[in-house]
Each structure stands twice: as structure tokens, then as C-alpha cells.
Amino acid sequence: MKILTGNDLKSGAVVWWTGQDWSIHVEDAVDVGDQADTILAQEEAARRVNASYAIDAEPDGERGVRPAHIKDRIRALGPTVRPDLTLKPADPNAGNWVI
């Protein structure tokens, strides 16, 4: 599947395209199929998100979506060396999903 990601203009937070809007949770990301370029162009014009791009991902059971590359998995969760600063600070096994 193809999903879209970028960084929120104001906060810089990593965000994922949900089909309608942007979410900080990768599990909200939707498969955009062959519409990536169209959506990216439209969102670029809206000037809400920076440095957006399309990536490969795969369905991931209960977690929803898993980006194909480790860099985007680290972006999705947070730094592996500071679990307290990730999106799942209470989950001791969250880092396993990245590696």
C-alpha cells in the first residue's frame, strides 16, 4: 500500500494522511493508491504540512499500518532511545515494532 506522510507546519510533528486530513497516528493512514501525487500537490497548496512524500507500507493487524522503511517507523513512533518521548510511552514493547 502507498501512504502519505509529512510534518505539520506549526509543530513539526510527523503526520499521516487519513483520506480527509492529517493525523499524528500512523494507524490512521490510508492507502492512496495511485492518487499520491494529486493529493500531495493539493496539500502542498494548502500549506499546512511540510516535506510531504509517499511511502510504501503494509497492513499490520491491530496496529493498522507499518511503513516499509525503518526511518518512517521511527518517525511514526518516536526515537527508539527515548521511549518516554514516543507516542506510546506506556507500552514497553512499542520499540519492537520499529526494529
Binding site: 510534518n7 507546519l9 506549526k10 509543530s11 513539526g12 510533528a13 510527523v14 502542498e44 500549506r47 511540510n50 516535506a51 516499509a68 522503511h69 525503518i70 526511518k71 521511527i74 518517525r75 518516536g78 526515537p79 527508539t80 532511545v81 527515548r82 518521548l85
Partner: protein, 544 residues
């Protein structure tokens, strides 16, 4: 240390106001990201993996307590409670919001700091010896010249759009503690046969994807021509440096392709021309700067006695303190490398504490080192035990300077958008491995440096042991290098062979150190043994 005059302050305040307006227009949608990006980068604001990252300049690594407190306050108020001290003697914050950036720059300006020229193809923050003004082996304090270069290079209209970024280092000791020959320009202040003080210029060094050691192009430039000669070096580079290929745009490539002799000839020609133009700052300006760097009021009756009956304290003194030029004083190094910790990171509370300790015990001065540690440059020996106790209580008492646990590591793939692999977890595992096996002390001086990509922010080329993280078909992989050195006998490490997994690289490092322990001769460091016996025995052990 240097204090801003009205011109310095006006320049920084004006820039804050300008950036506040630019940020407002960006947030209102009046500027595109393509328009705004070069503006934010000129103010040190990057977009990294998780958020905006702000890189704050620490000129030649020197700070006072008030500045350090503001750095801590920024960590608390605008970031997530910590900062990361870098290999460029700067500090970075990883979780900045765009709307906060102008306020942060205003807070910095209030204590004579900024983030200008910490990005982009310009002359970056001037670096220097972290022991400047305190070292026993120093010819003179190099910082007035570093400051003069800072003022010359700040907003220099001719050099704001160079072919590529440009880094200058100034030292004045026999011992190079600042990786001087791995800068675009390395300046060593020297004394000639006539007893005159001048500057030796090394030009065209650097790390990155094409590491090179800067050759000496002139062994003596009179100090009253320092800026003129620097300008000549930059002019030739700015004129002929390659702008067609980012990867060949650094001055090291120009010097290499032209040849040292031809590059030097052109610099000398330009220098002769510039001497007729009278561009050197007036001596009064240098004297004004120098007055800021007068020695603090040392206690000339301070005792050289030190009670070393506490073994932990004695170990810390042996590893983390360095001889001071003033009897009764030492230079104290605060390691930001606790076992299993993140190299260079310090919490806001720790930054506040280091500021307080500098105020109380070090004449209000701190230094950031390129090895990502902090220095209190002027500590009375009589105060050292109390200081150490306070550091210990705050988790800042690691006695491991220049050991295998004192690892330089870039932020790597945990934070950096350029990285191919994580650096920090490898550093953590190595420090934990050696703390557990008890070999750290036996190994003595061993400089280990890790970069998460070929850009070499972690200085892996210059590590006695270097590690380079690469992307191998989507997986993190780590190459091992041996034999690098950043000091007086600068050398570049050589790759041992095929790379390793994250756990494999930790094993490989331990095997390399075991070869050293088995093969070393009396008084040899790891680097000395490697240079004597060569790569082969290390490879045999590592790949067995």
C-alpha cells in the same frame, strides 16, 4: 569572556525581529515552504525526523552561567526537558515548534546568543580548544582571534553563499584538542624562530564522504594579517569552488584538485592584493576584544594539595581533570557519557546545575567540547572534591574521559533526517559492554566515534575506532574503521571489511580491543599498537 557591544546586540536583535515577521508570514500562509526554508535555515532551524530542530551557536564553545541557564530554560519551556551538545561545540533542541522559534531566539538574544550561521553554505561557528585560556601548554589564548574571526565572518556579504559550508578552527597549543586539521581552515597560533607570534594556516581538511587532512599552506602569517589571509583563502575558494556538484563543493576538493601548491599560489596572489586594500580590522578593535579575555582573578595562594584518599574521587581526578596554567587550579571535565546514556544529552536540571557550578567554582565560565562534554576551565583544587560530589549526585560524575566509554555519537536515525542508521543505541551498548566487562581502565585512552551516515557528524574517520552506520537494503549495517586520530598526528581510519549488525558491531569492537590488550607493548595506546602491527591481526580476530 567576550560581551556584546551595541553593534553585536543590534545585529542579533534586528535578526530576531526579522525572523519573527518571516515566521508570522509563513504561519499565515503568505510564504511557501520553498520560500521560507532558506530563511529558517539561516536562523539554525531545521526540519528533522520528529519536529523542527534548532541549532544554537556557542562561539568557540564558551558560555557563562547566565547563558547556560537560558539554554536550560529553553529545554524546559520550549522543548522536552533536555538539550544535545554537538561535535561542533553547539547545542541542539529536537522538539521545537515553529511558532515558538522567534521567542526562543529572543530569549537567546537577551543573553548575547543566537543561531545565525549554524546552517547553510556560509562560515559556521568558529571552533577552538576547549581548554583555551586555561591550558598549561598554551602559547597564548586563541579565543580573541576566534572572536575576531566570528565578527569578520558574521553576515560577511561576500561569504554568505559559498559553494558549501565552511568551518574554521583556531588553537594555540602544541597539543591539538580540537581536530584542527579536519576543518576547512585550521589555524594554529605559533611562535617563529625570531620569537614572534603568528598563525600557521592548514587549509582543505574535513570529514564527510571524502575525508581529508588539511595541508599546511603557510607556516607563519603575522597576527595583524590574520583576517586578510583568511579572506584570501575564502576568496579563492568562493571563486573556484565547485557549485555544480554538492558532493565536490567543499574546499578540500578544490585544494585537492588544484594541488596544494597551485591553491597556495592563488591565495598568496590574492593576499598580496588584499594587503593593498587595508581590510584588516584596526588594532584597537583587537585590543577591545582582548580585554574581554583577561585571566580571571586567580587566587595566587591557592594550594596544590589534593586529598585523593577517596578512591572514586581519585579515579575521577585522574581521568577527568587536566593541568591548569595556574598553580592551585585544574581544568575539570564533566562527562556527558554516563554508562548506557545518550552521548551529549543533558537534562534541563543538569544544565542548570552545571551553570551553578560554573558560577561557584569556575569564574562563571563553561566550555562545550567537540567530544560532547562540558568543561569547567578554572577550578581551585581546594574546591574539587565538593564539586565532584555535586556532579556525582546529579549523574554527571562519570570518570571516563577519553576512554572507550567516552563515545562521540551523532543523533543518527533516531533524530536526523539524513541518517541511514542509528548511532545512539550502538554507543549505549558499547559503553554498557565495557562497563560490565571491566576493561575500560585497562584499555586507557581509546577514542571511539560513531556516525549514522557518511556525512560524519560523529567524526568516525577520526576515531581510534570508528563506526559508520549505513543502509544495506533497508537494514541498518555498521562498518568498522581502525586507526583514525584527530590530534597532532591526525590520521584517517581504514575500514576493516564487511559490516556488522547492531549486536555484531559491539562484539567486533570488543574483539579489536582484545587484540590490542594481547599485542600492546609498554606504554602503547590502542592507536599506537594499531599503527605498529597494522590491520591484519585485528581483521583475523574480528572476522574469525
Amino acid at each position: 569572556m567576550y560581551r556584546y557591544d551595541q553593534y553585536d546586540q543590534a545585529m542579533v536583535d534586528t535578526r530576531v525581529a526579522e525572523f519573527r515577521d518571516q515566521t508570522r508570514r509563513r504561519l499565515e500562509g503568505k510564504l511557501t515552504e520553498d520560500q521560507f526554508k532558506p530563511l529558517r535555515l539561516q536562523n539554525g532551524l531545521y526540519l528533522q525526523l520528529h519536529a523542527y530542530m534548532l541549532r544554537v551557536a556557542v562561539p568557540y564553545g564558551t558560555l557563562n552561567a547566565a547563558q547556560m541557564h537560558v539554554l536550560a530554560n529553553i529545554a524546559d519551556k520550549y522543548d522536552r526537558g533536555y538539550g544535545h551538545f554537538t561535535t561542533r561545540q553547539n547545542i541542539q533542541y529536537n522538539w521545537i515548534k515553529l511558532e515558538d522559534a522567534p521567542d526562543i531566539l529572543a530569549d537567546l538574544a537577551a543573553v548575547e546568543m543566537h543561531a545565525i550561521q549554524t546552517s547553510g553554505n556560509c562560515i559556521r561557528n568558529i571552533s577552538s580548544d576547549q581548554f583555551a585560556g586555561a591550558a598549561a601548554d598554551e602559547l597564548i589564548d586563541p579565543r580573541p582571534y576566534a572572536e575576531l574571526l566570528r565578527q569578520w565572518s558574521s553576515f560577511h556579504p561576500e561569504f554568505l553563499t559559498l559553494p558549501r559550508k565552511f568551518k574554521i578552527c583556531v588553537i594555540a597549543s602544541e597539543t591539538d584538542r580540537a581536530a584542527m586539521k579536519l576543518h576547512d581552515i585550521g589555524i594554529r597560533i605559533v611562535k617563529n624562530a625570531a620569537g614572534e607570534i603568528g598563525a600557521a594556516f592548514y587549509v582543505g581538511g574535513g570529514m564527510g564522504r571524502t575525508p581529508m587532512i588539511a595541508p599546511l599552506i603557510r607556516d607563519f602569517v603575522p597576527l595583524d594579517q590574520l583576517i586578510t589571509y583568511s579572506e584570501a583563502c575564502l576568496r579563492v575558494y568562493n571563486r573556484y569552488g565547485r557549485r555544480d556538484n554538492k558532493y565536490k563543493a567543499r574546499i578540500k576538493i578544490l585544494v585537492h584538485e588544484l594541488g596544494k601548491e597551485e591553491y597556495t599560489r592563488q591565495v598568496e596572489e590574492e593576499f598580496a592584493h588584499l594587503l593593498t586594500q587595508g581590510i584588516e580590522p584596526p588594532i584597537a578593535e583587537l585590543e577591545r576584544i582582548m580585554a574581554h579575555f583577561a585571566d580571571p582573578a586567580f587566587d595566587t595562594a591557592a594550594s596544590d594539595d589534593l586529598d585523593l584518599s577517596n578512591r572514586d574521587f581519585a579515579l575521577w581526578v585522574a581521568r577527568n581533570t587536566v593541568a591548569h596554567k595556574q598553580p592551585g587550579y585544574v581544568i575539570a571535565n564533566i562527562s556527558l557519557k554516563p554508562v548506557g546514556g545518550i552521548p551529549g544529552d543533558a537534562s534541563a536540571a543538569q544544565i542548570h546545575l552545571m551553570a551553578d557550578l560554573a558560577k561557584e567554582y569556575s569564574f562563571d565560565e563553561l566550555r562545550v567540547t567537540h567530544a560532547q562534554n562540558i568543561v569547567l576551565p578554572h577550578v581551585r583544587k581546594a574546591d574539587l572534591f565538593t564539586l565532584w560530589q555535586k556532579l556525582e549526585a546529579a549523574g554527571l560524575g562519570a570518570a571516563n574521559l577519553d576512554t572507550v566509554e567516552d563515545i562521540i555519537a551523532c543523533p543518527g536515525l533516531d533524530y536526523c533526517s539524513l541518517a541511514n542508521a542509528r548511532s545512539i543505541p550502538v554507543a549505549q551498548k558499547i559503553s554498557q559492554r565495557f562497563a560490565a566487562n571491566g576493561k575500560t581502565g585497562e584499555l586507557g585512552e581509546l577514542k571511539l566515534k560513531i556516525s549514522g551516515c557518511i556525512n560524519a557528524c560523529g567524526h568516525h574517520h577520526a576515531g581510534h575506532i570508528g563506526i559508520l552506520g549505513v543502509d544495506k537494503k533497508g537494514l541498518e549495517n555498521y562498518q568498522l574503521l581502525l586507526g583514525g586520530c584527530e590530534g597532532d598526528d591526525t590520521s584517517l581510519g581504514k575500514i576493516t571489511g564487511p559490516g556488522f549488525t547492531e549486536d555484531g558491531i559491539v562484539d567486533a569492537v570488543e574483539k579489536a580491543t582484545d587484540v590490542y590488550l594481547a599485542e600492546r607493548e609498554e606504554g602503547e595506546r590502542f592507536l599506537d599498537t594499531y599503527r605498529r602491527i597494522g590491520m591484519e591481526k585485528f581483521k583475523e580476530a574480528i572476522y574469525a
